[in-house]
Amino acid sequence: MHTDLPPNLPPPIVLEVRGLRRHFGKVPAVDGIDLHVREGEIYGFLGINGAGKTTTIRALMGIIATEAGTISLLGETTRRTSVAQKRRIGYVSQEQNFYPWMKCHALGKFVGSFYPAWDAAEFSRLLEVLEVPADRRVSELSGGMRAKLALALALAPRPALLILDEPTAGLDPVARREFMQLIVAQARQHRRTTLFSSHLIDEVERCADRVGIIHQGRMRFEGTVGELSRLVRRVRMAADAEFVLPLGFEIWRDESLDGVRTIALRAEPAAWDAFTLPPGATIEAMSLEDRFIACVGATVVRI
């Protein structure tokens, strides 16, 4: 970890993916995506179901092979993540397939045997903090408890990078909120680089420093939420009003409803500065969810 870098230099890149490609049969699950995560950053990996989030994460974890592309992980570039690299990653999968007969502390002992840097005391502390009963069998835990147990297992080896694949899927709103608070607290406290995938916009908006939006196996956007706001805006006008797409603009979504037409446009900030609104048109406020839907939803919608 580089903690004493000059403040004007950006933190080093911990994870960088270039041109990652993977098909399942003829279906391209991941089709040449690029992403990078800097040290200490919380990266929200956003996409609808089937967008390619889990495939990307499983490729990052070396669970599946890639057809093309490189993965630079913790300063080492490979085609497939090695065991040595995995020892420095904490991973929480989408489904927790633990041994149901094991007690939580025994599971910690088992998982710890694979990590040289395993901190048993930290694991016990995490179980206590997360209120997971150490003496209870996995089969006796609720879904939320299992997710917390998975987080404790992922954090106990004090990983340089934490990767979570939809960790809150299936949790109730309260458990989800608590879970994400813990992740953010851990990331801030230990400057731990964190990448988590989700299809829940509010979760990403609340926790992530930067987001990557993946759709149909391709990265549609990567940057901060603020950058997305500056790039994507929505113009509202009458349905019959004439609109000519200016140079440097791209229509992400064109929606007509009850005689009102709203067009989500993407353009660089400089282009937006030079943009002239058509007569009678206004710029409408957009939430991250609106921008996400504009990014991954249908381009033209007529209701």
């Binding site: 669970i63 599946i64 065991v83 927790q96 088992f110 045997s113 694979f114």
Partner: protein, 523 residues
């Protein structure tokens, strides 16, 4: 890493592993402590052989299911995949642990057997090495088989059943499975053989084991999610129906074959008159308590005549084997009646007749004998409609055949008279394919004679050699009464054999046959 995995496996399956270990020791203790049982088995090493045939397959199956199938069924291998653990190492630990447990249990059994026998039997180093090697080969083969089987996921039950029933079917079908490779290692000589090293069996067991182990590892390692993970997915309802149907079909087929084979035991005819000519054996017996002198003489005469005729037939066709023939004399049968004995093809041919009746006609008996023998020799295929005219023809023609070809220059007027009413007006090659219909039309009265005239016409027009070539092509080879015979019949149809043997097709021959019958004179 390995220690962690081993600890996990022992914690997860510790009770079951201990149970497997105790079963073998308990069994040996029981045998050792129970005198009559010990004597019945023939000593400690016989008990080890018993363990090899019963305990080892069951224990290997249980180990495979516990260590491999459970991991994939519960999808806990996905959890392991997220850990810094190479997949091959996880499989290697499981493989080694299971093999060590099984080998350890059998090793303990051999040690116990040796301990018990050390005062009474001469345990030479060679004998000990033979027992150890044979045990190792067998355990290696069975364990790797069960290891690979455990990766089959949702298909493992169906596959296991098919394998098991396949084994028993082969065993009951006369295939000596116990003499093959690994099975030969634990045959009846296991506890007694002190000199001969079954090198070939050991090599086969080692090679098969290597192949099976490689197959298991491949299923666990190839592809990202591994073949084993895909196979471990639950069956769809449609797949369940299909697999159930397939399994039941295989089981029924195995049952049918086993039953068929089991009941086809050789026919025993104590006190029968026997006559042999080359590959032909004829047995004649009277189904009466005390045969008269006349009956005994008739049996002797008929047996010798039948052996002569069938010996000549086997030579004419070039048969390397021929089914046994059984002739049964029955006083209760009406004078000229000749009955089929209803044996299975594998048992041979049987006919019954009243050999001392006034109306008894020996050539009718010979015709029936040839008919039954050809059916047995071809596994019943000769009787199929597509082959029926040749079968009828040879059976009817053979007892009346003329020794010289010149004698066949004209058709026998009596035959012509008998055959003409049976001959369909539009007789053509298609009738040769539907011969049973031709025979039914005439109520079976003259179909045999009509068929026999065909063979005479064939010799007249294309030579006696062409006729012999055709008949030999049809009946020379023995056909088993299963799918192999059926396949041979499909791929070597009569029409093709006819053309190959005679150089003409059956359409032309049918015309020649019809014209010859039309032009021939009748008495």
């Amino acid at each position: 890493m390995i220690r962690g995995l081993l600890t996990k496996e022992l914690r997860q399956h510790g009770f079951a592993l201990m149970f497997l270990f105790l079963v073998v020791l308990g069994g040996l203790a029981l045998i050792a402590g129970h005198g009559p049982l010990h004597r019945a088995l023939g000593g400690g090493f016989s008990a080890v052989q018993l363990l090899h045939t019963t305990y080892v397959p069951l224990a290997a199956l249980v180990l495979g299911q516990m260590l491999i199938a459970t991991e994939f069924r519960q999808k806990t291998q996905l959890f392991l995949e997220g850990l810094p653990l190479p997949r091959w190492r996880m499989l290697a630990v499981k493989f080694t642990l299971g093999l060590a447990v099984l080998a350890g249990a059998i090793g303990a059994a051999i040690f116990a057997a040796w301990w018990q026998a050390r005062g009474t039997d001469a345990i030479t180093p060679r004998f000990a090495a033979l027992v150890a090697l044979k045990s190792a080969g067998w355990v290696w083969f069975i364990y790797t088989l069960c290891f690979a089987h455990a990766f089959l996921g949702r298909y493992r039950v169906a596959f296991g059943l098919a394998l098991l029933f396949g084994y028993f079917t082969l065993d009951t079908s006369g295939v000596r499975v116990s003499e093959f490779g690994p099975f030969a290692l634990i045959d009846d000589r296991f506890a007694y053989e002190r000199f001969v090293l079954p090198g070939r069996a050991l090599a086969i067991a080692a090679a098969l084991g290597l192949g099976l182990a490689a197959l298991g590892f491949a299923m666990g390692l190839v592809r990202d999610a591994s073949v084993a993970s895909l196979l471990a997915e639950k069956m769809s309802p449609r797949e369940k129906v299909f697999i159930t149907f397939l399994t039941l079909t295989v089981l029924m087929l195995c049952g049918y074959i086993a039953e068929h084979r089991q009941t086809a035991t050789p026919v025993q005819m104590p006190g029968a008159t026997e006559a042999q000519r080359g590959v032909v054996r004829v047995f004649a017996s009277a189904a009466v308590d005390a045969p008269t002198r006349e009956e005994t003489a008739a049996l002797e005469r008929v047996a010798q005549r039948a052996a002569d005729e069938l010996g000549a037939l086997a030579e004419y066709l070039g048969c390397a084997t021929f089914p046994p023939v059984f002739i049964v004399h029955r006083r209760d049968l009406a004078g000229g009646a000749v009955q089929s004995g209803g044996l299975k093809p594998a048992q041979g041919g049987m006919v019954r007749a009243n050999l001392t009746a006034k109306e008894f006609y020996e050539r009718d008996l010979l015709e029936a004998i040839v008919q039954q023998t050809l059916l047995a020799h071809t596994g019943g295929l000769a009787g199929r409609e597509r082959n029926a005219w040749v079968h009828d023809a040879l059976s009817a023609w053979w007892p009346y055949r003329q020794p010289r070809a010149a004698a066949e220059s004209d058709l026998n007027p009596k035959w012509v008279a008998k055959a003409r009413p049976t001959l369909p007006p539009d007789f053509s090659a298609r009738h040769l394919d539907a011969w049973l219909s031709v025979a039914r039309e005439d109520n079976l009265r003259g179909s045999g004679t009509l068929a026999a005239t065909g063979l005479v016409v064939l010799a007249q027009r294309h030579g006696a050699e062409a006729r012999q070539r055709f008949l030999a092509a049809m009946f020379r080879e023995h056909r088993p009464a299963d799918f192999r015979g059926w396949l041979a019949d499909v791929f070597r149809p009569r029409a093709r054999l006819f053309r190959a043997a005679t150089g003409v097709d059956e359409k032309q021959f049918a015309r020649e046959w019809r014209d010859a019958l039309a032009l021939s004179t009748t008495p």
